[in-house]
């Protein structure tokens, strides 16, 4: 019987159910055990599975990730949390130097079936480090996978896939929509494949690619442009690395136009990669320049300035129109 959950609850359920069927899964990080996480994502896990498998650590992100490397080598499946994605930077060295490379360095002898979870993205009127989007940084590192869900259903299915993946996955949770809406989520486990985007709706005039919390804003924009007779094909990327190229390439072959919408800063963001791929694979089908609508190349602004930074549905709608009318 399906339950109606928001994203926090969906992720929690994924963890609950997977820990039940796989004893090698351990969950740890700052404040995840007793308190259940500052966003309550890991609530009640310790109660159910005990301190050995769900525990709190000293405040040290590098060690949280570094020890997870050791644990994974030693046969466990650690799911560690970075309290905010902006706090993953102290662990950057461990992530880039070891998490991403252990399989390659050991020629396949050791692999790291671990997950690093973190709330990411802006829109909750919080400071920098609590609002930034740096998925591009990690997406560029060979050996890592980066996943960003946009709905509760997807969050659960993708997290389960991430947990079961024998390679490390960064599971970035868009905190702005942690509780913004609910959705039917089946009880019991199910997997949504990593590396597969989703065509949320079909359209003829333009392909729009987005992920995370931005998907809802794009959907609002799509309603706005419907009255102007513009039909949009919306693709939720879901996996940032490895990117599902086929999804939007085939779409662009049909529509001839593409717009990427993301929160992260413009320069060298994931939008740039998508556009390059479109260039490589669908050049002759283009009827307008591939475009991206993104955050500015600035540090994430303080709360009052937030609404300028994150593309609004109005801005998205206007950009869609501009591209279609090129």
């Amino acid at each position: 019987m399906p339950n109606t959950l928001n994203m926090v609850q969906a992720i929690n359920q994924a963890l609950m159910e997977e820990m039940n069927s796989d004893e090698t899964i351990v969950v740890y990080g700052e404040d995840v055990g007793v308190e259940g996480g500052v966003f309550r994502v890991t609530a009640d896990l310790q109660k159910k599975y005990g301190e050995k498998r769900v525990f709190d650590t000293p405040l040290a992100e590098s060690a949280i990730v570094g020890t997870a490397v050791g644990m994974a080598i030693n046969g466990l499946r650690p799911i560690v949390e970075m309290q905010f994605s902006g706090f993953s930077y102290p662990a950057f060295n461990q992530i880039i130097s070891h998490v991403a490379r252990m399989r390659n360095r050991s020629r396949g002898k050791y692999n790291l079936p671990m997950v690093i979870r973190a709330p990411y993205g802006g829109g909750i009127r919080a400071l920098e480090h609590h609002s930034e989007s740096t998925e591009a940084l990690y997406a560029q590192i060979p050996g890592l996978k980066v996943v960003i869900p946009s709905t509760p259903y997807d969050a659960k299915g993708l997290l389960i896939s991430a947990i079961r993946d024998n390679d490390p996955v960064l599971f970035w949770e868009p905190k702005r929509i942690y509780r913004a809406f609910k959705q039917e989520v089946p009880e019991g486990t199910y997997e949504i494949p990593i590396g597969k985007a989703k065509i949320i709706q079909s359209g003829e005039d333009i392909t729009v690619v987005s992920w995370g919390a931005m998907v809802r804003d794009v959907q609002k924009a799509i309603e706005m442009v419907k009255v102007k007779d513009i039909s949009v094909e919306l693709i939720d990327l879901r996996t940032i690395a490895p990117i599902d190229r086929e999804s939007f390439v085939e779409s662009v072959k049909k529509t001839g136009r593409i717009l990427v919408v993301h929160e992260a800063p413009k320069t060298l963001g994931v939008g740039a990669e998508i556009i390059s791929i479109v260039n490589e694979k669908a050049f002759l089908y283009l009827e307008a320049p591939p475009t991206r609508l993104t955050g500015f190349d600035t540090t994430f602004p303080l709360p009052r300035g937030e609404q300028h930074y994150i593309p609004t549905p109005e801005r998205i709608a206007k950009t869609i129109e501009d591209v279609v009318r090129y």
Binding site: V38, R40, R125, H130, T151, K182, K253
Partner: protein, 440 residues
């Protein structure tokens, strides 16, 4: 004026609070800054100050109730009038906005909006039943697309000649030209008015001073053909004067006797004979340029068109395989088709298929000419009136019969030197008629 006081965001990520104690009653007067209630939150118990001065009109929560940021929990009348409004009931807004309290939304920092909105269930794994419409779209680079746009051509209608059927710039230009020729909107140079400019001027003409004559079909056809020829082929004309005194004498000697055989011996048969001889040496004058395939088609047959003036207009009946006819036979043929044309007895098949055309405006009296090539041929020979003129021969002025020739040709495939050579060869044959016997 009613001021609805919403529970403010007091920071620290506080989303809601519990009213532990009201510090005012309905009807109380308060000043800005006075505390209205004590509220307990996750982090702290605090007093909430009033932002307005006035009278408390409504309290929308009870002690112990949970209120959320943004909820209206107090209504203040800022005008200060003692209103008779006593709240009938303290509305319990909490029931409406009852958030999922079990979440206890703590965010440490920031404000995570909680809502009980439910979105549509996922359609993961649902077969995409949409027919993959096989839209036939042209493959083309952005540069090509822009070119098509600029030239007003629908790129999806063009068959591409590039790899994998890609539409190349050349394809677009060609399609555009075909369009142009059909529409005939080409302007040759700025001094020629555009069709629209001419239209405008047309309208300015006073009506009673003009007469409008609808064009006949033939006239229209001629107009189209002339335009097509002149606008497609870069024409150039070489001219020369030939001293045909000896030919003149030759004709004089035989024309009377041939007349008895009902043969009208004009100069044309000789000219035709000479022309064919030269064409055999210079086949490019007897050709057609295949623009689509970038090839020059040399014709090994000699169908000579003879431009003829009729009362219905210009016609070009054709003498097929003229190279097989003797001068006398040519004379007969020329006569025959000329008469047929003038009497409107000419058949369509006789008006087609020429590989080279000769136009004799001299018969009417012209001397010089810049004839227009009979498209899609590559050259045309204009023959003017033969007149007697004084010339210098052996350092002395003598009388001579002069035949003016004007040779227009396609400068894309024939250079100036060739044009001159053609006429030189004509000269050799026609100025020494014995050469016709030997070489033609």
């Amino acid at each position: 004026m009613r001021f609805e006081f919403q529970f403010p965001d007091i920071g620290e990520g506080i989303h809601e609070g519990i009213i532990t104690k009201w510090l005012v009653n309905v009807g109380d007067m308060i000043k800005e800054g006075d505390s209205v209630a004590e509220v307990e939150t996750d982090k702290v118990t605090t007093e909430i100050p009033s932002p307005k001065t006035g009278k408390i009109v409504e309290l929308r929560a009870n002690n112990g109730d949970t209120i959320h940021v943004g909820d209206v929990f107090v209504v203040i009348d800022t005008e200060g009038n003692a209103e008779d409004v006593s709240p009938e009931e303290i509305k319990d807004t909490l029931n409406e906005k009852k958030e999922i309290v079990e979440e206890e939304n703590a965010g440490v920092v920031g404000e995570v909006i909680a809502s009980s909105e439910v979105i549509a269930p996922s359609d993961e794994n649902k077969e995409n039943n949409e027919d993959k419409k096989d839209v036939k779209k042209a493959l083309a680079t952005p540069v090509a697309r822009k070119l098509a746009k600029d030239l007003g051509v629908d790129i999806n209608q063009i068959v591409g000649s590039g790899p994998n059927g890609r539409v190349m710039k050349e394809d677009i230009i060609k399609a555009s030209e075909k369009l142009q020729v059909g529409k005939q909107e080409i302007t040759l140079d700025e001094t020629i008015k555009t069709a629209s400019q001419a239209q405008e001027e047309k309208l300015l003409i006073e009506d009673e001073k003009i007469e409008r004559i609808p064009l006949t079909k033939i006239r229209k056809t001629i107009a189209e053909k002339m335009t097509q020829s002149r606008f497609t082929i870069p024409h150039t004309t070489a001219m020369d004067e030939l001293d045909v005194t000896e030919l003149y004498e030759l004709r004089k000697r035989y024309k009377d006797s041939l007349r008895e055989e009902e043969i009208n011996l004009t100069f044309m048969p000789f000219i035709i004979k000479a022309t064919i001889a030269v064409l055999k040496q210079m086949p490019e004058f007897n050709s057609t340029l295949d623009e689509e395939n970038d090839e020059l088609i040399l014709k090994k047959f000699y169908h000579i068109g003879i431009a003829t003036d009729t009362d219905r207009g210009l016609m070009v009946p054709v003498i097929k395989d003229a190279d097989r006819l003797s001068i006398v036979e040519l004379a007969k043929k020329v006569d025959e088709i000329s008469n047929k044309a003038k009497n409107n007895q000419i058949e369509l098949k006789d008006l087609k298929g020429s590989s080279f055309t000769i136009t004799n405006y001299g018969s009417i009296g012209g001397y010089y000419g810049i004839p227009i090539i009979n498209y899609p041929e590559s050259a045309i020979l204009g023959v003017g009136r033969i007149v007697q003129k004084p010339i210098i021969k052996n350092d002395e002025i003598v009388k001579a019969w002069i035949l003016p020739l004007s040779l227009s040709y396609d400068h894309r495939i024939i250079d100036g030197a060739s044009g001159a050579r053609f006429l030189n060869m004509m000269k050799e044959l026609l100025e020494n008629p014995e050469m016709l016997l030997l070489k033609a």
